[in-house]
């Protein structure tokens, strides 16, 4: 089947799938995901492995788009208002997650390196799934605000901590074999610093260009063209330079929002246009996974999944309590941060290369857990904001939406 036809089918079926799951009050993204599973190699094989690979760049674009819009939460006004507190809360959530996963996986896997790295991966919260659920529910309120802020910071934190953690584990794993430790050290240090500082620099640079250019562009279609073009350039350039496109995109969004308030228009334009990309993203995410990965998840995988959720809930509960957040956040923040996705798989692939002895175990754990959380995460987030009373669209009549 030609890829053009496939993309068309993906979009239309995703639409149908999204509507179907709404009947059982499940977020649309879960429907997209199920469509992906059904089309993917493990069930009907309409979306073959080759096709998924060929359409992979849609996922990159989707991730770029969402991180760019998450970046808009880093405006100085917001940071000044809640930055300090959000940072501390994020640290609580992250530390809680790493600790819980580490403690559970250490006896199960017997490798502190693996337990540590998987603990860091567990801090990842799928930004797309979470943000899309918030958008779908048109939610507003303190919990929603906090989720946006945490998801943004949390993912930066996850990437930075992951970089540092892999740096140390790599040094320890390879120091014995390396011929010259000093050159290895400088190289590893460079990669670590480059991955963070370089990505930020790239984001700042492109954010400036976008801000200056954006002032000259008034018309809706032109704005969309400009933003999309910049996002693609940013994703492509960071891949080319070996940088983290996630950090670069977030920095670009943050730079833009801080340079000109008028840039809200750019984000709005994007927000009205990007849903098809996310639909493709989730269908591809579903096609990537196999139902069979649930069968091989094993005790470690279940331990990881449970510990991750427990860690997030405990971390956000204690964090929110000690930082004086409201009850709503104490109760529901952890539950809304369950979604776990593609970025985690990408990080897991890196871990496999660092700890080759454990690659089967790591694959089983991450794929199984992502599979569960890709479904459970959006549902949990939706449940949390509904219980917090922040979802504005209660589905009174299902046909209202259509």
């Amino acid at each position: 089947m030609s890829n053009v036809l496939l993309v068309g089918l993906i979009l239309l079926l995703a639409l149908i799938g999204g509507h179907l799951v709404k009947f059982i009050r499940v977020p649309e993204v879960v429907g997209y995901f199920f469509i992906g599973l059904a089309l993917g190699p493990s069930i009907s094989d309409i979306l073959t492995h080759d096709a998924v690979t060929a359409l992979e760049f849609f996922s990159e674009i989707a991730l770029g788009l969402i991180l760019f819009s998450i970046g808009s939460f880093f405006d100085f006004d917001n940071i000044r208002k809640v930055g300090n507190q959000t940072l501390r809360l994020t640290v609580f959530v992250m530390v809680g997650t790493i600790l819980a996963v580490f403690v559970v996986l250490l006896p199960l896997s017997g490798s502190w390196q693996m337990a540590l790295l998987l603990g860091v991966i567990a801090t990842e919260v799928s930004p797309i799934a979470t943000v899309l659920v918030l958008r779908e529910s048109n939610s507003e309120g303190p919990l929603t605000e906090t989720i946006y802020n945490i998801v943004a910071l949390n993912n930066v934190g996850c990437l930075v901590v992951f970089g540092v953690a892999t740096f140390f584990v790599r040094l320890i794993e390879r120091s014995g074999a390396a011929s010259s430790f000093a050159s290895l050290l400088t190289r590893e240090v460079f990669y670590l610093v480059w991955g963070i500082v370089g990505s930020v620099a790239l984001g700042v640079l492109l954010g400036y260009i976008l801000a200056v250019w954006g002032r000259k562009v008034e018309e809706h279609g032109e704005m969309l063209t400009l933003v999309l073009g910049m996002i693609l350039v940013a994703v492509g350039a960071s891949n080319w330079l070996g940088l983290s496109s996630l950090i670069a995109m977030m920095t670009m969004g943050a730079t833009l929002i801080n340079l000109t308030k008028a840039s809200r228009r750019l984000f709005d334009v994007l927000g009205r246009t990007d849903p098809p990309v996310y639909a493709i993203f989730f269908v591809l995410a579903g096609a990537h996974l196999k139902l069979s990965s649930l069968l091989v998840i094993g005790a470690s995988g279940i331990g990881y999944t449970v510990a991750r959720i427990a860690g997030k809930m405990a971390g956000s509960y204690f964090g929110a309590r000690s930082l004086g957040y409201s009850d709503v956040i104490k109760k529901y923040l952890g539950v809304s941060l369950v979604a776990h996705a593609g970025v985690a798989i990408g990080l897991a692939l890196q871990v496999r290369s660092i700890l080759p002895d454990y690659n089967e175990a790591i694959t089983a754990i991450i794929l199984g857990s992502v599979m569960i959380n890709e479904v459970a995460g959006p549902i949990a987030t939706k449940y949390a904001i509904a219980r917090a009373g922040e979802a504005r669209v209660e589905h009174v009549g299902e046909f209202e939406e259509i």
Partner: protein, 482 residues
């Protein structure tokens, strides 16, 4: 706070940030490039991600696949090995060397010296419990008896059953067939896939077993429409007659080296068919042979040629009786001896059922016109030795020729020349007439035999040959008997 806001609004601030960002990216990018080049020189993968993937693959291979492949090869080899024999001609072990084309290969001075006790001509494949062995026709010079070395280093005698020149295969039969190992499985029906890993099992000229891994790189058809396999590596001359097997341990083909030093792999299904044909064709001493290659006709072909039945000639052996009788390819044989020909198979059977030298009447259709053609059949390998004493036959056959026994008094007519024989190398052809040997007139076959008894083996003789009313000289010598 106010101060900071003011600074943010100043142009200087923006320029500072921008240039810092640009500087970081440019310098970092350059430094990264230099690291990448350094690691590339050190033989490491350039990109971190790639490095990871390679480690994953390497790891996966060493851990699982590699072991699995190793054990597959191990299993397959163990199962097949007993059926892979070395074929050694009894004569060649002590004969003066350098005579045949094949000898030149095995006497390559760069190769390790071979043990004089056992020097094989080719590898062979035991195909059934009756003791039939398929080998390359190169292994056969003029001799009819062979020493077969098994993998447990036992040796047995085998006789030549027949040679199929077209396929370049020879069929041997063990004299004693008690306690023969079970032959391996053959992949007769299983289609071979290109890209498939194969193992190549044979015996080196020294008799040592050889094993190599190869990949099936192409399946091609020759001009006659027959499939041949091509391996990714050159099949060396050492591997003449060796067997090619899949990793599951099924034989998929036999390697054959043609005299022009080109080697190819014949699918096992075809090789076994040849063996079947050779076995059937050779059992009574003199079955007819015409040199026809026939193809069955499907409905389309029948429609095209406007015939109801029969078989189409797709090829004729050079100088075969059929060719001499004037048959051509694309002629349709519609009846044989007045019996309507229903299929290619029935035609072949009908010919085979006649003794050699008999006349077969074909009705053929050529360009839409029915014609009648008579073919005097011959016996190619077995055959007209009938009536000769063993010694006589050795004399003629050690030269690689068969001589017609009629006494036309015009000379001894050569009826057939065995390829790769002494006679063949000198350029003799079927139909040539020997008129003089060392200056003495030869009128018929008995003159020829008389003359041969007076000339020692290994001694050169000069023959005068008449071919199509022209005469020329050749030098030839008989092999020394062992």
């Amino acid at each position: 706070m106010m101060k900071k806001t003011g600074f943010i609004k100043s142009k200087l601030y923006h320029i500072a940030i921008l240039s810092a960002a640009a500087a970081i990216i440019i310098m970092g990018g350059i430094y990264r490039q230099s690291i990448a080049e350094k690691s590339a020189q050190a033989g490491e993968p350039v990109i971190e991600e790639l490095k990871g993937e390679i480690e994953i693959i390497k790891n996966a291979l060493t851990k699982n696949e590699l072991e699995a492949i190793e054990s597959l090869i191990d299993d397959a080899t163990r199962r097949i090995r007993p059926a892979i024999v070395a074929v050694k001609s009894i004569e060649s072990a002590s004969s003066s060397r350098s005579q045949s084309v094949f000898d030149d290969y095995s006497r390559n001075p760069e190769r390790a010296p071979v043990s004089p006790e056992f020097e094989s001509c080719a590898s062979g494949l035991l195909i059934d419990r009756e003791g039939y062995i398929l080998t390359s026709a190169s292994a056969i010079k003029s001799e009819r008896q062979f020493n077969i070395l098994f993998s447990n280093s036992s040796q047995r005698l085998a006789d030549l059953v027949a040679i199929d020149e077209g396929e370049h295969l020879a069929l041997l039969k063990l004299r004693e067939t008690d306690s023969i190992t079970t032959p391996p499985e053959f992949a007769r029906l299983r289609p071979a896939r290109t890209g498939e890993w194969l193992i190549n099992l044979g015996r080196l000229p020294s008799g040592e077993p050889s094993l190599s891994l190869a990949m099936l790189s192409a399946i091609k058809r020759d001009t006659a429409g027959r499939e041949t396999f091509h391996l990714n590596q050159e099949v060396s001359l050492d591997q003449d007659g060796s067997a090619v097997a899949s990793l599951e341990g099924r034989i998929i083909g036999i390697n054959i080296c043609l005299p022009e030093t080109r080697c190819l792999t014949i699918p096992i299904a075809r090789a076994l068919d040849v063996a079947q044909k050779l076995r059937a064709g050779a059992s009574p001493a003199a079955q007819s042979w015409t040199g026809l290659e026939l193809q069955e006709m499907d409905e389309n072909l029948k429609k095209y040629f406007a015939v109801e039945q029969g078989a189409v000639i797709i090829n004729l052996k050079q100088d075969s009786p059929a060719m001499k009788a004037g048959l051509k390819s694309l002629d349709i044989i519609t009846s044989v001896d007045g019996v309507a020909a229903s299929s290619a198979r029935s035609i072949i059977e009908q010919i085979n059922n006649k003794p050699a030298g008999s006349i077969v009447k074909f009705t053929i259709k050529r360009n839409g016109i029915d014609q009648s053609v008579e073919v005097v059949t011959a016996s190619f390998v077995e055959g007209s030795a009938a009536g000769l004493t063993a010694k006589d036959s050795t004399d003629a056959q050690s030269l690689g020729i068969e001589i017609a026994q009629g006494s036309s008094l015009a000379g001894a007519e050569i009826k057939s020349v065995r390829p790769r024989s002494e006679a063949h190398r000198t350029g003799l052809q079927a139909g040539d007439v020997i008129v003089e040997i060392n200056g003495a007139r030869i009128r018929d076959y008995s003159d020829f035999l008389d003359k041969q008894t007076s000339i020692k083996a290994g001694q050169s003789q000069i023959w005068q040959i008449e071919r199509q009313e022209k005469r020329f000289l050749i030098a030839i010598s008989r092999r020394k008997p062992s």
